[in-house]
Subunit: 374 residues, 2 copies
């Protein structure tokens, strides 16, 4: 592993050694549209998955979650596998997204955190001082329950359906830790960044190994791709993002590079920082619905060269009916093609520009997937 | 008035007739920094006011509001005047912003709406069908309580302190009406736009006279400038904004043009639509903190020529301490100057890039104003 890391950037050697670094559990996917899109090949059909496809939009999800708390369900292998697979069975999407939560690695490390229904993750004690940071537990090994769940999922997926693992990016995790819970304005987080930058940088650095180990654990268990979710990054200026966040997201994606699986990076409302985020090193950049994909591709390519695009249907369009939905899907596919034709992107994975909204009707999601595939 | 409207665009005639259109009540401001900035003159000091400067950040506000509901307080002339004046007395800002709420004109027209603490405006019945739209009351005259309040405010303001009136833009009002209350994702609103555009356009058209009459009422009572708040516009793509919103915001600002008072236009998270919003016709464009002012000015000037900029300190910086606050204020002033020097902007009114956050310490606001003025 170390040897490979030293050789990173020397493409020939990496190609040669890649067989060594693929974990024993990693499957070989065949004609998997999502993998083909990330590799610059022409996929058999437009690949599509939806963020939050597993969850509250599905009646079968509500049924199996009954009486079980959100965080508990993320540590129950059979249940998390079932929930991950439900939308794949129902919608014919090209990938499963691991059912989990960005605070799962924190909980696994021993941080006191609960997900409160209707509110989100709430911390037992916020992290505000250097001492708090020094006492923040680090996830040393993997998360066995998640690994077992991944094993169950992979048994059911076909060899053209990818399993995407994920982790929350350090800024988003840090915001929950500093605020003590979800925040509309992230003022305590930003106050720490600007008013106490040493503590801020210490906190971000301390989160890196927990996130890396969570991802390594998923990779060892066999995920085919991964997404780094920086849910709140869009609340930052490009200047703040670059100074206070980018180095740590870069460190994480760098550590994962050795496993040679597609890395996706996404945040909401990130139009102003797409270029900066693209520097972190992912192969795929998720794009919020606010920015047309051809424009997004220009911003990304100008900074990091062409990448694969992911997105970007406004999730609210799933409430608008078939005709407007079809029109929007066609527009997005055309914008992606424009970006590819212009050399600003190398591929396109269809997705929403944000997660599936809780009240979305399951049948409307299935219909959208069919339109995207047609 | 009608004659003037017919002559709109013929600048000479408008200049000639402008004396006729200034309401009897309008004051003549002397060396008012905000007015000078909007007229392209060099103000005596950097003009500054803060969105939501009147409100929960002030202990004296909490005291006078005790036991009185938000919406009731907007219809009590003495009280709304007192609340409007509190931050002017305390912070030495260059403008008072009328204490009101964007749903006040709806309530005055007879719409069943309450502001629920911790939640926001909640409608008695949402507006979803053509029939609902046809039954939506229109504000025909003015709002006497607000006019009386403005009279009281003007007695206390000096002739260099401007009073800024305001109205919610039709998209933001429509979102509350369609959703039935505050919404994180505006899915019912967007579903109507795309799925039932006729009803959508009918609703937007029906809101225009209510908003115009509310503003005319404030102008007749003597406000010195006005801001059109499109709080939620940043949730739209440029395409949707241009098709479904811009015509109506333009109609409102056009109607107000005859009064020749500075028109400010602002929304949060509007980086992608600054150019489109600038077409609506305001002299001043408010800018969210996410976009540096020099970049914002380029986007605006490319579409509508140079305008006055307003903004754009991140309100979270008021929690960071004096040194980082000073640094950020200097950066913003420098970026505004860069825009002016490059010919992309004609002036700068300092403000936040969003409203004052509820937990902000009043003394920290006063300090920020002093730094901005120094």
């Amino acid at each position: 592993m170390w040897l490979l890391f030293l050789n990173w950037g020397e493409w020939g050697k990496i190609e040669l050694m890649s067989a060594l670094t693929v974990p024993a559990a990693r499957r070989t996917l065949i004609n998997a549209p999502i993998l083909d899109a990330t590799l610059g090949k022409t996929p058999t059909r437009t690949p599509v998955w939806f963020m939050r496809q597993a969850g509250r939009s599905l009646p079968e999800y509500k049924k199996v979650r009954e009486g079980i708390s959100m965080l508990d369900s993320c540590f129950m292998p059979e249940l998390l596998a079932e929930i991950t697979l439900q939308p794949v069975r129902r919608h014919d999407v090209d990938a499963a997204i691991l059912f989990s939560d960005i605070v799962v690695p924190l909980r696994a490390a021993g941080v006191g955190v609960e997900i409160v229904a209707g509110r989100g993750p709430v911390l037992e004690a916020p992290v505000r001082s250097r001492e708090d940071v020094a006492n923040l537990p680090i996830l040393e090994g993997g998360i066995p329950e998640v690994e077992q769940g991944i094993g169950i999922i992979l048994e059911e997926l076909s060899d053209s359906q990818a399993l995407i693992g994920f982790a929350g990016a350090p800024f988003t995790l840090a915001s929950y830790l500093v605020e003590g819970g979800p925040s509309k304005n992230h003022e305590k987080t930003k106050a720490m960044m600007h008013g106490d930058p040493e503590t801020w940088h210490a906190l971000m650095a301390r989160l890196v190994p927990t996130i890396v180990n969570s991802l390594k654990s998923q990779i060892d268990a066999g995920i085919d791709a991964m997404q780094l979710f920086d849910s709140w990054a869009g609340f930052l200026t490009e200047r703040d993002y670059t100074e206070f966040v980018l180095p740590y997201s870069t460190a994480i994606l760098n550590e994962i590079a050795q496993y040679q699986l597609p890395r996706i990076h996404f945040g909401v409302g990130t139009g102003e920082i797409l270029g900066a985020m693209s520097k972190a090193g992912s192969e795929v950049m998720g794009v919020d619905w606010r920015v047309p994909l051809d424009k997004a591709a220009q911003r990304i390519a100008a900074v990091s060269g062409p990448k694969v695009l992911q997105g970007n249907l406004d999730p609210a369009l799933l409430f608008a009916g078939r005709a407007p939905l079809t029109k929007e899907i066609e527009r997005i596919k055309a914008e992606a093609q424009t970006a590819i034709d212009a050399g600003h992107a190398t591929g396109h994975i269809f997705n929403l520009g944000h997660g599936v909204l809780p009240n979305t009707v399951a049948e409307d999601i299935t219909e959208a997937v069919a339109i995207i595939h047609s």
